[in-house]
């Protein structure tokens, strides 16, 4: 068995910083797609409650004990940072851990940076902490979650990791230049 080199999706690319906004990578963690079988929606929600979470409403996420579950579509949610325990026979589980790059954009200008790439109202009133959106990041599909007052979690396909970093870093630099120019 050859010894394979384990790399995170954004290894060697992150972190980067510009204008007080920092783009970094979340620690690699387990990501599972959870899609309850027909008629098993309530039971799946109960199983997720047992690990402190539950079934998220559209556009929302639930966090507890370092794990979280994000609504990602009709009848589908992503469980991050926890084993999908107790869901056997209740939901289709797909291991997505290697499929996504998970970036963290943080700093007081994070919203302004995202405004260059995302066609959503991300002000706290419209997109409070814990909110989730499936939308576009420039030309990429993205799962977006507000991780804090000034922080966002950005999930893109792992194959898009370098492009996402380039696009975000470009927007960060442009926003920083604008601030510097006064």
């Amino acid at each position: 068995m050859p010894s394979l080199i384990s790399k995170s999706p954004c290894e060697d690319l992150l972190p980067v910083e510009a204008g007080g906004v920092k783009l970094s990578e979340y620690p690699v963690d387990r990501v599972s797609s959870v899609a309850p079988f027909a008629g098993k929606e309530r039971a799946s929600g109960a199983a997720l409650k047992a690990i402190g979470l539950g079934w998220p409403k559209p556009g929302q996420s639930i966090s507890a004990n370092g794990a979280r579950i994000l609504w990602t579509g009709r009848g589908q949610a992503f469980l991050v940072g926890a084993e999908p325990a107790g869901l056997d026979g209740l939901a289709a589980i797909t291991d997505q851990s290697d499929g996504w790059a998970r970036l963290r954009l943080a700093g007081s200008g994070a919203e302004t940076v995202l405004a260059r790439l995302v066609a959503l109202d991300l002000r706290p009133g419209a997109f409070p902490e814990g909110s989730v959106a499936r939308t576009g990041l420039g030309h990429m599909m993205m799962i977006l979650r507000r991780d804090g007052a000034d922080a966002f979690e950005i999930m893109v396909f792992r194959s898009m990791a370098a492009f996402a970093v380039r696009e975000l870093h470009h927007a960060m630099t442009a926003c920083a230049a604008r601030v510097a120019a006064g």
């Binding site: 556009g59 579509g73 009709r74 066609a119 499936r134 939308t135 576009g136």
Partner: protein, 110 residues
């Protein structure tokens, strides 16, 4: 232009892909006669007024959505999930063939 995804809310039109008349989401049943398939594939109303379109929230939550639109005023009205309009299939599969009336091929209209 914006469309309201019943799940995601109001979103930019560029997040969606257009698939034509919403009748496209109502496939005839497996036993439907050729006439039903002919109507399903080729025959469309061309109303002056309310019509219903099929959209896909591609750069979003992947939901299939029926959008009501007025061809005269261009007003975009209600939207709903295809999954919630009742059955993916035309009700009474084969009914268009029985009628033999090309102007009314939409057995699946709720």
């Amino acid at each position: 232009m914006r469309l309201t995804c019943p799940l995601c809310g109001s979103r930019d039109r560029r997040e969606f892909t257009y698939y034509g008349d919403a009748v496209y989401a109502s496939r005839p049943g497996p036993d439907a006669p050729p006439e039903a398939w002919d109507a399903y594939l080729h025959l469309r109303d061309n109303p002056a007024g309310e019509t219903r379109d099929l959209w896909y929230h591609e750069m979003g939550c992947s939901a299939w959505i029926e959008v009501t639109r007025d061809t005269v005023t261009h007003a975009v009205g209600a939207t709903r999930l295809i999954a919630e309009r009742g059955g993916g299939r035309a009700s009474g599969a084969g009914s268009p063939a029985k009628k033999k009336a090309p102007s009314k091929p939409r057995g699946g209209r709720a």
